[in-house]
């Protein structure tokens, strides 16, 4: 099936700053795609190009089979967007905004609107100025999730939600996906990404540095091994892909590149494995690897 989002070589400049510098991003039909990267990496810029708010300087961008700049309004009937920073009109109530956005997207599912309003415990009679950040986000989420659309574009949609509402949100996204619809989810909440996303793309300085399923990405990182052996091991430091090795008598602790795991475990056999724990890389480690040298430097310093 066609990709709902297909971006290749996208460049967007603001003056001399290249906010996007040859970005590639593919989101397949029916998947929830995580869009990750440090602050200022260009996630929101990419989303604004997808929404036809910003015009691409170079590269090709296809959204739901159309051109997001030229066919903006037509394409927007089939998607809903929740910004990270929801700004409401101070004198309009939440209920009014939901109806307004719903109407502008081409209609709301009334039943779903009612149900989501209850699940998110949103008071629709409050004016925009008196909502908290989380409640403003709920307004945008209810409006988006009760629209008849094929694609959700969510830019850090849960940064103001409490854990219970976050679970409500995750359930709603699951439901949305179960109808074969797609989601582009930009988020910093790793547990949320791990729980929801089929595939992720990590961007940094306006380029995609990694893209694939979480399982794929794990293969690119290291697994931690802690092992107790029948005899003191030797020569482990000569194995390819082994790092941070510490040997204390019959115990050894090290990290190994995941694609070298088999060879490393094979070598351990020679010393008689008594117990072995292996820990797959956490998502956090995965991200730290990409999120920047500064973070890595901080880590090693502390």
């Amino acid at each position: 099936m066609d990709d709902v989002i297909a971006i290749s070589g996208l460049v967007k400049k603001f003056g001399s700053l290249r906010a996007l510098d040859g970005l590639d991003l593919q989101v397949a039909q029916g998947e929830v795609h995580g869009f990750l990267g440090p602050n200022g990496a260009g996630k929101s810029t990419a989303i604004r190009v997808l929404l036809g708010l910003l015009r691409a300087d170079a590269g090709s961008v296809r959204l739901l089979g159309g051109d997001p700049w030229k066919d903006a309004a037509e394409l927007h009937r089939r998607l809903a967007y929740v910004p990270g920073d929801v700004n409401l009109w101070p004198n309009l109530t939440g209920g009014e905004v939901i109806d307004l956005l719903g109407r502008l997207r081409g209609g709301l599912d009334e039943q779903r609107r009612k149900e989501l309003m209850e699940r998110f415990e949103l008071d629709p009679t409050k004016k925009g100025r008196s909502y908290s950040k989380g409640n403003r986000q709920k307004v945008a989420l209810v409006a988006a999730l009760s629209s008849h659309v094929d694609l959700l574009i969510l830019d850090e949609p849960t940064s103001g939600l409490d854990p219970i509402k976050e679970a409500t949100f995750q359930a709603a996204v699951d439901e949305f996906r179960s109808h074969g619809h797609s989601v582009l989810l930009s988020s910093h909440i790793l547990a949320e990404v791990e729980r929801l996303c089929d595939r992720v793309t990590i961007i940094r300085n306006g380029v995609a540095v990694e893209s694939g399923s979480l399982a794929d990405l794990r293969h690119l990182t290291r697994t931690s091994i802690s092992v107790e052996l029948a005899q003191s091991p030797t020569g482990l430091d000569r194995l390819d892909g082994v790092h941070d090795l510490v040997v204390e008598g019959q115990r050894a602790v090290f990290e190994v590149d995941t694609d070298r795991l088999d060879a490393a475990v094979g070598a351990l056999h020679g010393f008689g494995i008594r117990s072995l724990t292996s820990q797959p890389p956490t998502l956090e480690e995965l991200f730290l690897r990409h999120y920047g040298d500064d973070v890595a430097a901080d880590r090693s310093a502390s």
Binding site: H76, P83, T93, K126, K127
Partner: protein, 523 residues
């Protein structure tokens, strides 16, 4: 009061240009009255005669204040400038207080500041002191300029205290208003209403037996009788009222939570009305309040002008400068007066028009456009909807001011026959206003940062209206103002041609703006 000094420095740094602009404007208001009287009357005898006529004009008294010593320059300055000066000082105080108290609370910035080592009373005290400093600067400007012009020192001091202390009273009432509502707009509504009531009370009092004037701070300021007795007693009354209002605001502040008002926020409708969901529904909802406010305001303004009625000729009397501004070749002076009143109302309405035309910019800045344009709403429709509502607002306000003038005239003369000409004049001047609307929209569409330059258009047209004839502007310069090309009904015969030409220009500007907006990035 920890942090007061730092906040005060911050506020003054943010406000210095605003305070200077208000000071320049209010000082000019007083000083220009003195200048404009000079040389108008050939002899004291002529001045006395004109003054005797003016003293009897109830409409002008209602607008300006009690007529005293009108045969002196100082008396004229006080009469012509003191009421408007007090209103301006009141508006300045209101905006200064609002922007540092309620607006900051509404935006959440206040919370961030308060989380630092900041005394509970520091923010509002710093706002109050900022407003007091601003009023002191205005008082210095007014008193200094009048003294510098050569008016008596004691009267100049009275004028300075009149404008400065009245401003301080309204700073106090604005501070009270800031404690009441949760929204900044609501606060401005209350503070503005207090100002309006003060103005109206003194208007009724000045025309009648004067009792009601003593219920109004503006009346107290005028009761100081600058240049005609110099009574400093009412200054104490003003100071006491300012202190009282400030104390009240602190007491109220102690009874409320930061971020909320004493009046609880009322819930609104849970569902959108059919009206809001119509194509122009949202734009209308956003502009509705200001269209209504401006219509009522200019209706009342028109009422005041109209009520001068046929006595306009007497009023203008021997004033050569005024005559020169008002004169329209071959027309009766009364018609010239009304034609110019309509032009002035149009220029005021142009203030609404430009701020309304720039509304899309504030929407974009507030980040409310992104979410809208991510729906099936084409960006051109969004932009056009705001424009259509602006255009409708311009016409509604034009009808309102013409109706006001006709009603005022009918009130004075019992005659409604000027309604038609007033409507024709007011509506045809809309073509000029719409040119500046188109200009503002084009600037915004090209680059949101350029948009505020649109105000230059209104400024230029105002300068042309006031000074083109006295200062003998070359034709090409006056012709740059669209209003110059329009017939000044009722002094001149209504003409279709300039209206149609300007409307064609408006259409061109509209189309260019739409095209430019379709091409640019939206943030």
């Amino acid at each position: 009061m920890t942090g007061f000094a730092a906040l005060l420095r911050l506020f003054l740094a943010r406000d210095k240009w605003m305070i200077l602009a208000w000071t320049a404007g209010i000082t000019l208001l007083y000083w220009s009255q003195a200048i404009s009287i000079e040389g108008v009357y050939q002899s004291q005898h002529e001045f006395d005669a004109a003054a005797a006529l003016m003293e009897k004009n109830a409409a002008f008294i209602a607008m300006a204040g009690p007529p005293r010593a009108l045969n002196t320059v100082g008396g004229q300055v006080t009469w012509q400038a003191s009421a408007f000066g007090a209103v301006c000082a009141g508006l300045m105080s209101m905006f200064l207080i609002g922007r540092h108290t309620r607006a900051e609370e509404e935006s959440g910035r206040d919370e961030l500041l308060r989380s630092t080592a900041l005394g509970r009373w520091a923010p509002q005290t710093a706002a109050l002191v900022t407003a007091l400093i601003a009023n002191a600067v205005v008082a210095l400007g007014v008193g200094g300029s009048l003294l510098g012009y050569g008016l008596p020192a004691q009267g100049s001091l009275a004028s300075a205290l009149q404008v400065g202390l009245t401003g301080a009273v309204f700073a106090g009432t604005a501070l009270v208003a800031a404690q009441l509502t949760q929204s900044t707009r609501g606060m401005y509504g209350i503070a503005g209403a207090i100002l309006a009531v003060a103005y109206v009370l003194r208007a009724i009092g000045d025309v009648g037996n004067g009792v009601l004037s003593w219920l109004s701070p503006i009346g107290w300021g005028q009761a100081m009788h600058a240049y005609s007795g110099d009574d400093f007693g009412p200054a104490l009354l003003l100071a006491a009222a300012a202190v009282l209002a400030v104390v009240a605001s602190y007491l109220l502040f102690e009874r409320r939570d930061v971020g909320s008002g004493l009046f609880a926020a009322r819930p609104g409708p849970a569902r959108a009305s059919a009206g809001l969901l119509r194509p122009w529904g949202l734009a209308w909802r956003l502009h509705r309040g200001s269209v209504l406010g401006w219509t009522i305001g200019l209706f009342l303004f028109g009422l005041a002008y109209g009520s001068i009625g046929d006595s306009a000729a007497d009023l203008i009397g021997g004033s050569e400068v005024t005559k020169e501004i008002l004169e329209v070749a071959g027309a009766a002076l009364v018609d010239g007066f009304f034609a110019n009143a309509l032009l002035m109302l149009s220029l005021l309405a142009c203030g609404f028009a430009i701020s309304s035309a720039l509304r899309p910019r504030s929407e974009e800045e507030a980040g409310r456009v992104e979410g809208l344009l991510a729906t099936a709403l084409p960006r051109g429709h969004w932009f056009a909807a705001h424009g259509v509502v602006t255009v409708i607002g311009v016409f509604v306000i034009a009808v309102g001011s013409a109706l006001g003038m006709a009603a005022g005239y009918a009130g004075a003369t019992g005659d409604w026959d000027r309604l038609g000409p007033f409507l024709a004049g007011s509506l045809s001047l809309c073509a000029g206003t719409l040119v500046w609307v188109g200009f503002a929209r084009l600037l915004y569409a090209l680059n949101a940062r350029w948009a505020p330059w649109a105000w230059l258009g209104l400024g230029f047209s105002t300068v042309v209206m006031l000074f083109a004839r006295p200062l003998r502007f070359p034709d090409w310069l006056s012709d740059l103002s669209p209003y110059t090309h329009l017939a000044l009904v009722p002094a001149e015969e209504f003409a279709w041609r300039p209206v149609l030409v300007l409307l064609a220009l408006v259409a061109l500007l509209w189309w260019s703006a739409q095209a430019a907006f379709a091409r640019r990035d939206v943030h």
